[in-house]
Structure formats: C-alpha cells, structure tokens
Symmetry: C2
Subunit: 302 residues, 2 copies
C-alpha cells in the first residue's frame, strides 16, 4: 500500500492551490486551479483539486489520509462551516461535511491566514512564537506558538486590520474609520490609487520609478501601516519572528526595507522600542511558498 498522504488546500478569491504532503511534511505533489465561486463552485473546485492530486500521485482519491482547507471568512472548525466569505460569494457553506460525503475523506477547515501562519512556520523552520502578517486584499494576522495555532474563541484572532488607529481616518467598509486595512492592504491600494487598476501591487514600484507621486504616497502609507502592524504584533505577543506574507509581499525588498526603516525611525526616539529589536524580527515569506495550503494540510490532523 502506498504511503498515506495529507491534502492541503488554499481556496482564494481567484485561485486555489492544493498540495499533498507525506508524513514528514514534505510536499510531494501540488496543483493550482481557478476558484469557481459560490457554494457549488467552491465544492466543485475542492473536488477537482483532490482528483488532480490523486492523478499526480497515482492513487485513488479515497487513499488520502485527510483534507485540510484554508479559506477566507469566519470558520467554525467544529461544524466545518465557513460563513461570510464574500470574495468567493459564499454566505454559508458546510464545506467539510459536503466534501467528506462526496469524497469519503476526513475534511477540516481553517481560516486561510491561520493556515498560512502554520505553513510559514513549517516551511521556514521557525520555532517559538510566530506572527504571520498577511498583506493581501485584506489585512490580518495569524499566530503559531510552539507549533500550535492560536485561533481564539470565535475564529477571529488576528483581525488587526480593523484596528481603527490610523491617523488618516479613512472610512472602512466595516463601518469604522482609520482601520489599518484602509492604508496597508491591496484593497486600500485599489481604492486610493485607482490608476493601479485591479492588481495595483504588480505595477506600484514601476509607477513610482516613473515618477507617479500618488503611487509613492500609496506605498508610503502601506509601509507605515505595515510597520504599525509589526510594532503592534511585537508589543502584543512578543513573537520571535514576524513573517510578512500575502500578495503584496511581491513588493519584496523595497517593502521590507521600508518597514525596517520606519521601525528604526520610531526606535531612534525610544530606548524601549530599540530594545525590542523590531526590524530584526521581520522576515518575508519566500515567493512561490504555498504556505496556506501546506498549513491547512498540517492543521487537518491537529
């Protein structure tokens, strides 16, 4: 009989990444497909991904050991239900039960950012307390302490994007003003730098290089907001490492340098902050890491 493989899946607004892990946690197969939206579409996508991994690993789908799914929205892990996942057009979906019925496999759900935190800690070999800062369409964080995720009481741990503390006091769709997500997220870029189009992060740096003053301002706000998040995460949880992930990590060194420079400026005025060595705790998730899919597979059995 072939070795038991665990499936992990990251169902995002546009794409779904899926991996199969062996018992050691190594990725032995991976695939990526477009996410179909709505409850039926999401279920179809997940089934499709499992069939594709079965084909890639030359086995029947029923031979997999488990399926873990990272997905946006509010997650009830016990019931296996996802709610309010607006960017995939899902108001409520009993995804674990339905997928388990159709595949015969054990299925667990997790918040996508929590899954990414678990995956990042595993892939990057990080121990102790790890805070994962997701700079994606939205802004939120996930936490892993000594290998175990912190999920909180209602599955909303890490929703720091809705801390209403930014001095610009921009209105947020959540109803508050000044949420960190209104300055440090893909949705903020899209709203306040319309020239950037649908994927502003991809052209932001070239626009700045070409002298676009509004692009530069948008980037500066992004950097300040992200630095604010790092300071917040360190003061709240004192993590060994803060990992920057999410789509905007493609901004790479300019983003990381900007965050560190901002933290250094704040620290220059404060011996207290200096001693916390904020900048030294920050790392960026390597490109092409399927952190959320890997983390979802690992969380599927914990």
């Amino acid at each position: 009989m072939s070795e038991a493989l665990r499936i992990g899946m990251d169902i995002g607004g546009s794409k779904t990444a899926a991996v199969a892990l062996d018992l050691s946690g190594a990725v032995v197969a991976s695939t990526q497909l477009l996410t179909e939206r709505g409850p039926d579409g999401v279920l179809d996508t997940a089934e499709h991904a499992i069939r594709e991994l079965a084909r890639l690993t030359a086995r029947s789908a029923r031979e997999f050991a488990s399926v873990g799914i990272g997905i946006p929205g509010q997650i009830d892990r016990e019931l296996g239900v996802v709610r309010n996942a607006y960017n995939i057009d899902v108001a409520r979906l009993a995804l674990a039960e339905l997928l388990s019925e159709s595949t015969g496999l054990t299925v667990t759900l997790d918040n996508d950012v929590t899954a990414a935190a678990i995956g990042a800690a595993h892939l990057m070999g990080l121990s102790g307390t790890v805070a994962y800062l997701n700079l994606g369409t939205g802004l939120s964080a996930g936490f892993v302490v000594d290998g175990a995720p912190l999920r909180g009481s209602h599955g909303v741990a890490g929703e720091i994007g809705h801390l209403a503390v930014d001095r610009l006091e921009r209105p947020c769709p959540c109803g508050q003003r000044g949420c960190l997500e209104t300055v440090a997220s893909g949705s903020a870029l899209k709203t306040y730098w319309p020239a950037g189009g649908d994927h502003p992060g991809r052209i932001l740096l070239s626009a700045i290089a070409a002298g676009d003053a509004e692009a530069r301002t948008a980037f500066e706000y992004l950097v300040r907001g992200a630095a604010n998040c790092v300071r917040l995460l360190v003061l709240a949880l004192d993590p060994h490492t803060v990992v920057i992930g999410g789509g905007l990590r493609l901004l790479g060194d300019p983003l990381l340098d900007g965050i560190r420079t901002t933290l250094d400026e704040w620290s220059a005025a404060s011996p207290f902050l200096t001693e916390l060595q904020l900048g030294e705790r920050v790392q960026v998730l390597p490109e092409d890491s399927s952190a959320a899919a890997v983390g979802a597979a690992l969380a599927g059995i914990s």
Copy 2:
C-alpha cells in the same frame, strides 16, 4: 508529614502579597507586607514573606514545595533574573538563585501581569483564551490560553501600553508619543490630573461628583483608552474573556459601564464590531483577589 504547599508572591511597588496554595490550588494562608526597595530590600521582603507563611501554616520554611514570584520588570525565567524593575529600584537581580540559596526552596519568577492573568483565570474559573488588562500605575496585558500563559520570546508579551495610537499624542517616558499608557493608567492620571495627588484613582469619582471638570476629562480619557485596549485585545487574540484588573479596577461599575458604553458606541457604527460582542467579554477582577500571587504560585510548577 504535612501537605505540600506552594508559595506565590506578588512583589509590587509599595506592597508585597504572598499566599500558600494547597494541591487543589486553594489559598490556605495569606499575608501582606510593605515592599523594601532595592536588590537587598526585595530579597529581604521575599524571605520575610516566606517566614510569615511558615508561621501561619505551622511548618518550617523548608517544607514548602516551591516559590513562584510575580514581579514587575523584564523577567528572564530561565536565569531567574529580573531587570529594569524601576518602581522597586532594581536594575538587575538574580532573585531566584539568591532566594533559593537562602531558603533551600525552588524559586521561579514571572512577570507580575502574566502571573495575574494566570491567577485571574484560576480564581474566576475562566477557560479558553483569557486576556488580562492591567490598569495599574502602568498599562499592560497578560494572556492565558487553555490554562497556559503566553510569555512571548523576550518576556515582553502584553506591553500594549506602549502602542502609540492615541490621538492626544501625549509624550511618553518611553520616548514615543500617544502611547495608550499616557491616557489609561494610574501614571497618566497622576501626570494630567495633579489635583488627584499620589493615589488619584481613590478620589477620582468623588472629585467628578463634586464637579471637577478636569477629573471628568481624565476619567473619560481613561475609559476611552481602556476601551481601545479591549478592542485591540479582542481583534488580536479573540479571547473568550477580557478581565480588567490592576489598582484602577477600584473605580468599579462606573469604569466598567464606561468601557461598555464606549464599545457599544463604536459597535453601533460597525456591524463587524457588533458581531464581536466586545462589551459582553469584559469582566472585572473581584476586589481583594490576590490574582498575581496565586498565579505566581501556579506558574511556579508549570
């Protein structure tokens, strides 16, 4: 032979509380004494407390099972060293080793607010994720998740008092501006409402009742800052319960009502916040709870 008792101690700026716990975690003896300052004074105080608990429980000091100490400052648990505990005049003290040498007992140290979080969860019978918000001379938090404290990588987890997000942007001794501690703490009251004297919390409500407009403003800032902390703690860690502790909890119902009213006002504008049920998560540590001493005793063996 008598039952093994664990000692817990809360060494504060003015007073030291000490308790002896039986194996079930019940307090069987307690004492309180003035804290002597400086390294020698602190060591003397701890020895004195142990002798007093031995007398109260009719045994020799060497019969105690362990000693756990909650103390302000930066704690290195492994080395048993406390540093930068300015309000007891200690720059650095190898308290665990020295006290262990003089008493023959096993001694462990913990941050006083982390110890209070452990003790509050135990005394109030709270499970799941507990955030303890210490409104004392300073402002900070401690966390317990499923019975285990979160201490972070360098013993500074919970230092949310130095999040520089308050719109008044008052200067903070830490070097930043707008730290939450500059509005929501005993030191903020003392600095910005000098009429309150050395213990402004004790006369704040009567001053407001007598029409002191500055006292009312100081109270309003305190309430807003504390509510900001509650929102922050819920968005970051999604605790089942936020316990308000520290000396300012003596403000009682007006403080708790003020915090809940502020959270309700913010929630009225935000369906997102409404769903988080912020106000319902808040409880106040009962008066006369030696939470930090009890928690230190419990942490002494974990």
